[in-house]
Symmetry: C2
Subunit: 217 residues, 2 copies
Amino acid sequence: MTLSEEDYIKAIYHLSKDDQKGVSTNAIAAQMETKASSVTDMIKKLAEKEILHYKKYQGARLTDKGKVYAAKIIRKHRLWEFFLVEKLNFSWDEVHDIAEELEHIKSEKLIEKLDAFLDFPRVDPHGDPIPDKNGHIKKLEKSLLSSVKKGETGIVVGVKDSSSEFLKYLNKLNISLGEQITVVSKEPFDNSMTILLNTTELNISALTANNIYLKTK
Amino acid sequence: MTLSEEDYIKAIYHLSKDDQKGVSTNAIAAQMETKASSVTDMIKKLAEKEILHYKKYQGARLTDKGKVYAAKIIRKHRLWEFFLVEKLNFSWDEVHDIAEELEHIKSEKLIEKLDAFLDFPRVDPHGDPIPDKNGHIKKLEKSLLSSVKKGETGIVVGVKDSSSEFLKYLNKLNISLGEQITVVSKEPFDNSMTILLNTTELNISALTANNIYLKTK
DNA sequence: AATAATTTTTAGACAAAACTAAAAATTTGT
DNA sequence: ACAAATTTTTAGTTTTGTCTAAAAATTATT
């Protein structure tokens, strides 16, 4: 599988919310920052390889084989991210682009040894689950901070947006994985909220609250 | 720089024994397992980029810029090899192909952090020196076992051939970096020799002796 | 030194992955 | 339901890195 093919597989995987209908050509083009015509060419090729199902004008749907392939790329991406943060002391906002390159390194043995070296981590530095070697992902219970009710408390377990910009903003607010957050109040006008983080109260926008995952119980 | 360009640069660097005359098109083609016509195309392109000097029919000679670029690729290759052996417990005969892929990962910051994580190693698992971040290589004193005189003793500090086949053979003989070897006798007929390794004597061919480096004093 | 052998370059093609422009199909709006 | 808008596909180019075949230059041989 070429680098480009792998990038498409990953993009389609991330865009596949609904398993029923295909991911549209335009959606893939947007994600890949390329043109729809290029996408059509590529999904035809991937259909040949039985990575996805394709019928004209009906978008792309990954086959089981395609899903496993995608999960393996994501496994590599997230294990490398974990390595970069835990062993090389990168911060969580710096690792995405490097992992984008590392995820294409081929050796299975490498990734199994890396996994052991890292002591079999279950989530990456952004709280996203690391698929196992067979491509199975265990998804964890979590709620968006934006949906947490006033008075409730939770632990930060992930972020929805893991762009460097957003992560840097969270650094500034001292919000990181493992922090405890309590919703103090919500403003109905713009859905912003006041939260308690350690001993300090701070105000965050609805957009911010909609990109932080908490584990509540 | 593309992956392919980097591979050519490294190949030409390794083939540049003599700094005076260029590396021949055919030699590069053999190393790269490609055709001479492809090499001509590529070296023209690299000449454009001032990575090497090229005059028709006179082969390729790396510029200073080209040499530094090559050394940086080799630095990455050897640091990754060290990582694979020391941290992931690969054996020295398994790491070359994986490092061939890892050496193309772009981030400078990654490689400096990796270097620090590994505690600034000076040689790779085959005893080859690791260039510094500016592309300078300190070459170490060493002699081929084949040129060591009868009765002399030295420490294994490197191998000339680092193919997986040769390294596996050395594993079988229990020869590895750091072992002490004494030349017991040499057979003039075929230049084979008997050596003392720890407490055992063994016989090795001229070809084998010609691929092991010792540090004698 | 002239011819033969070898090496290197040129010219023209090809495959992969992208693009543009235009045609075809689907979806939307009234 | 039908025209308008949008999406998707097709057709034809482009770029990168490769190839083959043939021409040109260099090196070796006698």
